[in-house]
């Protein structure tokens, strides 16, 4: 056991935790006399700095095999996930100054950094204990972030619902892990996969697998474990909702895929049972997400149901990625995260100027702020999958993989057709958002233009530019992930 090697492997996380403590310390020492705006600026700046430093360390660590007796794996998937998570967390931190009216800026930024450290460990975990601890570090931080706005009862309610669903799913995950440990005698994922490959499948292992799938279904907001998502997206402060919707999904899907692709999922021999279960989750999420989103009048709930539908497409990527490599899945989750963070960023800025609950609150946005309306158009069209934006290319990659996977008649091909058909449905509710922003006239009483603070404006422009660049030159991002 080599502790120098361990420290090198975990240097991005060490930087993130040190940054969190630094943010708290600086605010404690210097923040008392400053106004809230300056404190938010200082905290966000320190947070973004430590995230940037963590990205440098991630680059330095590279893809260098395993560390700490195989508990951590540093491969190209780890590196790509870490980069994606750090970029998404940095963008949601940049949304903070000037948009939120929360007290305690340093605490918010520090908890975001702790959650990010959890995400980056999830990206590297190859051991059930490390995976569980990282997942819980991230989840507990996200519960706190969801309930951070103490002045609004909706925020507390969202956090409580998130916590109760999350707690039950954590218990399912732990129980599933304990059965896997008991049946295979190991908590290392490769050793478990080897053991399962040798011995014939046992019914207890199927129970364990179902429990683990249920827990990950919750994490990914896949139907039928999606019930928390609309409430949390609606009640949480916008930057917290952005983080919950984006970075947590990227990290969760990497961990999930690593567990299943390693062979742990092949509990029943030739026909992998997990593929069938994941296919059912994917189909249910696609149907429910897209159809219920049609009925939504609340912008945040619409984004939540669109997130459920996107989770269905990502689960399709989990099925096919084991054979074709993780690049397409990572590309899709990352570009989805960018678009969602952007959408929540627009919501945060509009909320600062007034209300932003229903779709009608966006009415006449292009007259009130052309910048916001332009960015919103990029984000929403990318979510809908319109070329040349990155969302289109992500969908194209995943669907073509699914069609190559088992031909047209296989379950993956069928799901791909379902997803393509439902994309047309999705286009309708995405265009409803843009119709309000571009066609409808501003409501009486809120016609004055919206001032966009500098840092959030920069974050929105960066996210939109990334979506366009990744859509036009997808090869560069895919090269990083393979």
């Amino acid at each position: 056991m080599n502790y120098g090697e361990l420290f090198r492997a975990l240097s991005p996380e060490a930087v993130l935790v040190a940054g969190a403590l630094l943010v708290l310390g600086v605010d404690l020492a210097l923040g008392r006399k400053k106004i809230a705006e300056a404190r938010w600026n200082a905290a966000a700046r320190t947070g973004i700095l430590s995230i940037g430093l963590a990205a440098c360390f991630t680059y330095a660590v590279g893809a260098s095999g395993t560390a700490f007796d195989g508990a951590l794996v540093l491969d190209s998937l780890t590196r790509a996930t870490r980069f994606a998570v750090l970029i998404l967390a940095g963008l949601s931190l940049a949304l903070l100054p000037g948009t939120v009216r929360l007290r305690h800026p340093a605490e918010f930024v520090a908890i975001v950094l702790f959650a990010t450290a959890g995400f980056t460990v999830m990206a590297a975990a190859q051991n059930l204990l490390v995976a569980f601890l990282a997942l819980e570090l991230a989840s507990l931080s996200l519960y706190v972030l969801a309930g951070f706005d103490k002045s609004r009862p909706e925020s507390a309610e969202a956090a409580l619902k998130y916590f109760l669903f999350g707690g039950v799913s954590a218990a399912f995950l732990l129980f599933g892990f304990s059965l896997i440990y008991g049946l295979t005698g190991s908590i290392e994922i490769p050793a478990i996969a080897r053991q399962i490959g040798h011995s014939p499948g046992s019914p207890l292992l199927v129970v364990a697998l179902v429990m683990v799938l249920a827990a990950f279904g919750f994490k990914a907001a896949a139907a039928p474990f999606h019930l928390w998502a609309p409430d949390v997206y609606q009640g949480a402060p916008a930057p917290a909702a952005a983080l919950i919707a984006s970075a947590s999904k990227v990290a969760g899907f990497t961990l999930f895929a690593r567990l299943l692709w390693s062979g742990v999922g092949d509990a029943t021999g030739q026909a992998p049972l997990w593929m069938l279960a994941v296919a059912i989750l994917a189909g249910a999420s696609l149907m429910l997400g897209n159809l219920v989103a049609l009925a939504q009048r609340n912008l945040r709930r619409l984004l939540a149901y669109s997130a459920i539908a996107h989770a269905g497409v990502m689960l399709l990527g989990v099925i096919t990625g084991g054979r074709f490599g993780p690049a397409a899945l990572i590309y899709y989750t990352f570009t989805y995260g960018l678009a969602t963070i952007g959408a929540f960023g627009v919501i945060a800025v509009v909320e600062r100027a007034g209300r932003c609950d229903t779709l009608e609150d966006l009415a006449g946005l292009h007259r009130r702020s052309p910048l916001l309306a332009g960015c919103l158009a990029v984000f929403v069209l990318s979510l809908a999958g319109i070329p040349p934006l990155a969302g289109f290319f992500g969908k194209f990659l995943l669907f073509s993989q699914a069609l190559r996977f088992g031909g047209l008649s296989g379950p993956a091909g069928g799901l791909a057709f379902l997803a393509i058909a439902l994309s047309a449905v999705a286009l309708y509710y995405y265009l409803l958002v843009l119709k309000q922003a571009y066609v409808a006239a501003p409501a009486a009483g809120c016609q004055d233009s919206i001032r966009v603070p500098a840092k959030p404006a920069l974050a929105l422009l960066l996210a939109a530019a990334l979506l366009i660049a990744l859509g036009v030159f997808p090869g560069s991002a895919l090269g990083l992930a393979t």
């Binding site: 059930l128 204990l129 569980f132 601890l133 819980e136 507990l140 519960y143 706190v144 309930g147 103490k150 009862p153 909706e154 507390a156 309610e157 969202a158 956090a159 409580l160 619902k161 916590f163 109760l164 707690g167 039950v168 954590a170 218990a171 399912f172 732990l174 129980f175 892990f177 304990s178 059965l179 440990y181 008991g182 005698g185 190991s186 908590i187 609309p230 409430d231 609606q234 009640g235 939504q296 009048r297 609340n298 709930r301």
Partner: protein
């Protein structure tokens, strides 16, 4: 029919898990829901200990280690959960889950 100690432990932990799940789903008092979640986590801990003790020659102590870490996680989870219960109590002056229904649609 006689059961081995491992089977007895597994039966007991499964029962504990089901009791906890029932509590988490059926109770309307938030604290009792938290207790239910705690029971489910402890059922899993019991599994780890039982598999480590009775499950043959395994890697040294990884089951016990897992249990110790998950106890610590459960403590952190209880802390966050109780803080959220207090946050909801401040707004609605009770902790009934039925009353926490502002968000819907």
């Amino acid at each position: 029919m006689s059961l081995s100690p491992l089977q007895l432990c597994l039966l007991f932990s499964s029962a504990l898990f089901c009791v906890g799940l029932f509590g988490a789903l059926a109770r309307s008092n938030t604290i009792l829901v938290l207790l239910g979640i705690e029971l489910m986590l402890n059922a899993a801990n019991l599994n780890f200990i039982a598999f480590w003790r009775f499950g043959g020659a395994h890697a040294p102590a990884s089951g016990v280690l897992f249990a110790i870490f998950s106890i610590a996680v459960a403590a952190a989870e209880a802390a966050v959960g109780l803080a959220l219960v207090i946050a909801i109590y401040r707004h609605q002056k009770n902790i009934r889950l039925q009353d926490a229904s502002r968000l819907k649609g």
